[in-house]
């Protein structure tokens, strides 16, 4: 479990050290919408996953790019090139849904729990500095709207 008390000193200091990068998000945006059974949902992950043939995530400015994951992707096509070595990858190796719950989302769509699953989902790489994601995130919002998405499920790793 990720409770700071359960981590090593190094891990805890690293995670707490990140807090200074995370201040200053003072806006409180709030978008309303219909019940979830009317929503079209896309997954946006920061797990650094992508299809096998896509460019792997890299350090530097390119770290803030995203990759497109078509809704029809099969689990066998997904790999992970996240920069960090400080999290468990064995779960993802066993089952992509523990990181990127695409099958669960499709089940919910088929059962009417949500309206529909989006045609496209997106992957960032979470080791990028948070503020470096802003241009691509704002660009992404237009793509989500084109896909008629009115709810984004954001998942870290």
């Amino acid at each position: 479990m990720v409770r700071l008390a359960d981590l090593t000193d190094g891990e805890r200091d690293f995670l707490l050290g990140k807090l200074k990068e995370l201040s200053g998000f003072d806006g409180r945006p709030w978008v309303t919408g219909p019940p979830i059974n009317k929503r079209r949902v896309a997954i946006v992950t920061t797990a650094g996953i992508h299809r096998v043939g896509d460019r792997p995530f890299a350090d530097g400015a390119a770290a803030a790019d995203y990759r497109v994951i078509p809704g029809g992707v099969s689990a066998g096509d997904l790999v992970m090139s996240h920069l960090s070595s400080n999290f468990d990858r064995t779960g993802f190796q066993q089952d992509v849904n523990v990181v990127f719950p695409i099958d669960r989302l499709k089940e919910f769509a088929a059962e009417g729990v949500i309206g529909t699953a989006a045609d496209f989902h997106y992957s960032f790489m979470g080791a990028a500095p948070p503020r470096s994601l802003e241009p691509k995130a704002r660009q992404l919002s237009a793509l989500l709207k084109k896909d008629r998405v009115d709810a984004a499920l954001l998942t870290p790793v």
Binding site: V2, L83, T90, V98
Partner: protein, 245 residues
């Protein structure tokens, strides 16, 4: 993660998110977040447990119906652990039958990869996939790249379109994935941390990665030194005295 929540919501797209580090989410106050008590790397808790994953996903989606925010809710169901009396500790999950010869660590690494091959084949068949697909190299070639780099940190990338640091990172991730996928195919119930202990302290690959870290730190390339400092060995892994160079 919280930054994306702010940016997308400001642009008119409603968001809900999983939070793995509650302190980060408390600081950023994204519109809607569900903190989950799972290990880093498993935001939906349990691999191959659709029922568990569905409960987490539904709890996150339901936050979209909250009347006002920001919302930070705790998901209190822990991921189940195998009972202690069912956990089978690693003793020697593969038979590394041939001792290292004159070729030392490089030979031992190739030996391990060969010994694990049937288990990795089984894992790939059982899962219908493998994540050992980043570098484009076979595990044997990836291992050779690592041991050659340890001997000569100035050696070039194996592919012109990959910088040395990216080549190293992809090779390392493929090698680790090969080991973890292979060992997970073996019989027995094990907790995730045990495979980590096995890899880092009981295999030639673990020894090679400790040496690779040292080699990276000797590189003239700053990005390679940064990778050596943070990217080769996880922070939680401390070399035992015999593993230190």
């Amino acid at each position: 993660m919280g930054a994306l929540g702010h940016y997308l919501e400001e642009e008119g797209v409603a968001t809900t998110q999983i939070s793995l580090v509650r302190e980060h989410t408390e600081m950023m106050k994204p519109p809607r977040a569900l903190w989950v008590p799972f290990i880093l790397g498993r935001p939906f808790g349990v691999p191959n447990d659709a029922t568990f994953q569905r409960r987490v996903l539904l709890a996150a989606l339901r936050l979209l119906e909250a009347p006002s925010g920001p919302v930070l809710e705790d998901y209190l169901e822990e991921a189940p652990h195998p009972p202690d009396d069912e956990v089978e500790w690693f003793v020697c999950p593969v038979s590394f039958s041939r001792p290292p010869g004159e070729d030392g660590l490089a030979g031992a690494l190739q030996n391990e990869i060969a010994e694990l091959a049937p288990w990795h084949d089984l894992a790939r068949i059982d899962r219908g996939r493998t994540t050992v697909a980043l570098s484009g190299l076979t595990p044997e070639a990836a291992a050779k790249f690592v041991t050659n780099f340890i001997a000569d940190p100035a050696m070039p990338s194996y592919r012109e379109d990959l910088t040395p640091v990216l080549a190293l990172r992809l090779v390392c991730q493929d090698l680790k994935a090969y080991y973890f996928e292979a060992v997970a195919a073996q019989p027995g119930v094990r907790a995730a941390f045990e495979a980590q202990t096995w890899f880092w302290h009981d295999t030639a690959a673990g020894k090679a990665f400790f040496k690779l870290r040292e080699a990276c730190l000797r590189s003239d390339d700053e990005s390679v030194r940064r990778f050596g400092a943070k990217g080769v060995v996880p922070m939680a892994v401390t070399p035992r005295p015999a593993e230190q160079t």
